[in-house]
Structure formats: C-alpha cells, structure tokens
Amino acid sequence: MSSESGVEAKSGAEVAAGARHRATGTRMSTGRAGDRIFAGAARGSGIVVLGIVAAIGAFLVWKAIPALQDNEASFLTSEEWNPNAAPPRFGIAQLAFGTVMSSLLAMLIATPVAIGIALFISFYSPRRLASGLGYVVDLLAAVPSIVYGLWGLAFLSKHMEGISKFLNSTLGWIPLLGGDSPGKNSIFTASVVLAIMILPIISSISREVFLQVPQDHVEASLALGATRWEMIRMSVLPYGRSGMIGASMLGLGRAMGETIAVAMVLTFVPGINWHVLENGGSTFAANIANSFDEASVTGRGALIASGLVLFVITLVVNMAARAVVARRKEFV
C-alpha cells in the first residue's frame, strides 16, 4: 500500500518510470540469484504455453489450407463428407451439429447431478461418508475413456433403447425427442456416456468452490434463521455461481473433445438429424478417429481442417464462459 501511495505523489515522468520498473519486475526483485532464476523460469513457462498454442494453430492452418482449396463443396455448410473422392467434397455441418448437440446434452444431464453430488458431499452427508464419496466420484475421472466406450456399447446402449422409446412415446411432441425410430446408438446414448465422463470434473470443481464459501456468509444466513437449503440458496450458490458455470463449461469442453467413447457408441448415418433419439450422427473427434487411417492426403487435410473448427469452437465456449462469469463482477 505504501509504495502505491508513494507513486501517486510523484511527478508524471517518475510514475511512468516506476510503472515500467514494476512491469519488468526489477523493482520488486532483490537481485538475488534465486529470485532471478525463479522469475526467469516463471516467465519462460508463460512463453512456452503461448508458443505451444500458437504452434498448434499454425500447424492446423498450414495442413488444412491445401485440402480446403481443393474442396468442391461448402466447407462450413455442407453435410457431405467425401474428402477422399475426386474431386473432394466435404463440409462440417453434421460434425459440428453432432459435437455441439451431444456435448450440450451431456452438460445438461451432468451439471444438475454433479452439483447435487457436490452439495450433498459438502453440506448434507455425514463427514465420514463425505470423504469416501468424494473419492469415488473422483475415481470416475480415472476410468480410461475406452472403458466408457466399451461399457456404453456393450451395456448402456442396450438399456438405452427402452429409455429412448419411452421418452419418444411420452415426450415425442418435443421436436428433439421426436422421430419414428428411436434407437440405441444415438446421440442421446452418446450424451449419457459423456455426461458420466464429465460428472467428476464438474462435481469436484463445484465441491472445491463450495469449500471456499466464507464461513461468514454461511453464518450470516444461518443467523437469520435460514434452513440448510435456504442457507445454500442465499450464501453458497450465489458465491459459487461463477465457479459452477466455469465447471460446467469445462465439462462441455471436455465432452466436445472426447473421441473414443463417442466413436464406439455412435452409428454413422450421414446428415444432420435433430431427432437425438434416433441412431446416427458423428462428432469432430469421433470422425477424425474413425477416418484418419484410411484418409488420403486431401482427406487428412480435411480432417485437420475439421480439427481446427473444433479448436475454434472450444475457444469460443471458453470465452463465452468467461463473459458470463465477468458479467456480474460488480457483485463478486
């Protein structure tokens, strides 16, 4: 604080110099070797991260451009995917649809359950049960995704057929749940698998956020005569709001990038189908995994171009999450 007010009192030139010193870190540094090494290592790590992101972006663009130039169809709007044909025709519409739809559904299914788990562990369960339960939930994150894929294919999809039929017959008037032939290898089944996969991350981040709720806020509502649920509504959820949004967005991002489990569950049927209970659909990642091996040079370029789009979508999701979080900063 004292250095801050000292800066204010100085003349303009000195202030600028002070700011420059602070920006480069020399003013804070004592000049000891340890300090300089640590500062250098920290700065280096920062630069490496930026470098890696830039390199990935550059690589994707560089590999994608030739294929995009040969493409005879509209890359963004076409539902075809024939990059190995001559002339190549491919577009990402159905991949984007499948990715966004399955991930959004997964997020919608997982978030309430995950937050419920986190609230139960943090505020309702007996202490002894809490640590064990938290451990089990975290364990879900350690299961390899190929195992989820196998489980989804061999077990879940069979049982999903009945659920899908039930949803279709009772809630079929909702456009998404409509359609004539609800199946077991649908986007909906993939979403349920994805939801289970992203459950641990959403729940463990929410739990961490709940742990940080200041005791002051908790006691403020309890002392007003709030019940436990009212206390959660008044003190915990508002405080944890941005954290919970961040957690579910992270889950969304993870669901979007998930490859193998989705590739195993989905049956490939060309075209966009809004009826998520029917078989078919594909995602960026699943499509890359399924077709990269047999792809021609142009085919690989096309897959990389689709990877670039996934990269951009993920970026947009994260930025949107930040915008939501920042909107009510005044209150946090």
Binding site: R127, P214, D216, H217, V218, E219, A220, S221, L222, A223, L224, G225, A226, T227, E230, M234, S235, P238, Y239, R241, R328, E330, F331, V332
Partner: protein
C-alpha cells in the same frame, strides 16, 4: 417484543474441549448487557449458545438451559432455525451477502419468513434502514451491492438486516472491532437507540465501550490455557467499573492483566 434470557448451568464444548463451564445469568429485557474478558475466555462462545449458533461448528455441543421467557431453547422439540429467527445476531466482521443489493440484504430475512408483498417489503426495508441510521446514506442506491459500502456502513446494514425480522433479542459479537472510531460511535449511538425495543447482548474487547453502552456488565475469565472459561461476576455496569465484588474483575478493568 423484547424478552428476558435466563441461563442456568450452561456448558459448551468443541469436540473434547470444554470451552465454557457452568454459566448462569439473567439478561433483562430492554437493556444492554456487555460481556468483557480476556481473549479465549469464552464470551463469544457463550454468546453463540444464546441463539444456537454454537452447534453450527462441527463437533460443538451445549449442555444446560437457556430460557427465553420460560421457553428452553435447548428443548429437543425446539428447532434451531426458529430460535435464530427470534434471536438475531451481528458478527465481528461485517458480513452482508456479497451478491445481494442493499435492499435485498435487508429483505433477506423477511423473505425467509414468507413476506413477499413488494409494498410491505419496501416499508420494512426503509424502517429497518432508518432504525440502523443508514437510510439517509443509502436511500438513493438501494439496488447497489451491499459490499460496496464502507465497513461501518456494512455493519449498520447487517444490523438493519438483523432487526428487519423484528427479533426478541439482538446478539452482537464485537460489532465494532473492525471499525474506525467514527463508525464505532455511530454503532454505539444506534445500540443506545435500539435498547428501547430489544434485549441486547454485546461482546466487546473495549472496556470503555462496555462502560459507555451497557447497563449491565458480565466479566468472564479463564484459569489458564486449556481450562474452560467461567463467568466471574455480572452486575450493574457502574458497579463493575467502580466497585466490583471480585478481585479478578478489578485487576482486569484497572489493566493489571489481560
């Protein structure tokens, strides 16, 4: 509205730690009772047993009786939530709900009690903010966050929030210890005004404050580290500060220890 508190044979524990031992006292309605004593002597713990906030801490428990106009707060049929609705509390650090506006902070307790009508809420919010001597400073920014106020204003906001639900008793746990002298004075004036309507119990580290605001003063002490806190004596404030019965009290208020 104000009620008498009668405590008898009260012990409080944190897990295996015996925090306060065998306290009995009577707190008169429409008066201010101050708790003084060295740090760790159990005054705050005791205060928190009076609205069942002590048991919020995991492992904490209470033995004994606290009668609020003949009703025992620790009867097994009594809901702690209901107790806290009639015994309000103001904390050491101002703790307005950070995500709520000034208005919503004051209305929070009312909404818990099922008051929904806008006109009624408006009325009580204004009344409570006036009661807490804060209305003039915030009336044109009621929709702004409560966390944007100064520390002293935040504490008065918390008092407004506590009195909005018209409690029988108001407990204050060192309400001025985080405030500057001007804000402290504002709160003390407020306490003087509130005691015409409420039973007020205040924990304070500041003996001048106890002397200024309270009608009766209770002195707490511990025999040593790890020993439970005890009530040494409670009497009229003027007597405690001029001619206390106990040697320990006299030593403490004259600054010979603590």
């Amino acid at each position: 509205m104000a009620k008498r508190i009668e405590v008898s044979g009260l012990h409080a524990y944190y897990g295996g730690v015996h925090a306060i031992e065998d306290i009995s006292m009577t707190v008169e309605p429409r008066s201010v009772t101050a708790f003084i004593g060295p740090s760790g002597c159990g005054k705050s713990t005791f205060l928190r047993t009076l609205n069942r906030m002590h048991e919020v801490i995991p492992g904490a428990r209470v033995e004994g009786k606290v009668l609020l106009d003949d009703e025992d707060l620790y009867e097994s049929s009594v809901d702690p939530v209901a107790v806290r609705r009639v015994v309000g509390m103001v904390f050491q650090r101002p703790n307005p709900f950070p995500t709520m506006s000034i208005y919503d902070n004051v209305a929070a307790g009312l909404k818990l009690n099922g008051v929904r009508r806008k006109a009624r809420l408006d009325e009580i919010v204004e009344e409570s903010l006036r009661g807490a001597n804060l209305w003039n400073e915030v009336q044109d920014r009621l929709s702004k966050p409560g966390a944007g106020l100064s520390g002293g204003q935040q504490q008065r906001l918390c008092i407004a929030r506590a009195i909005a639900v018209q409690p029988q008793v108001l407990l204050m746990d060192e309400p001025c210890s985080a405030l500057d002298p001007i804000s402290t004075l504002a709160i003390e004036d407020l306490i003087d005004k509130l005691k015409t309507q409420y039973t007020i119990v205040i924990v304070t580290h500041n003996m001048q404050q106890a002397a200024r605001v309270s009608d009766r003063t209770a002195f707490f002490n511990i025999a040593g580290t790890g020993k439970p806190g005890k009530l040494i004596e409670i009497d009229d404030t003027s007597k405690i500060f001029t001619n206390p019965e106990q040697k320990a009290t006299e030593d403490y208020i004259t600054g010979r220890f603590g």
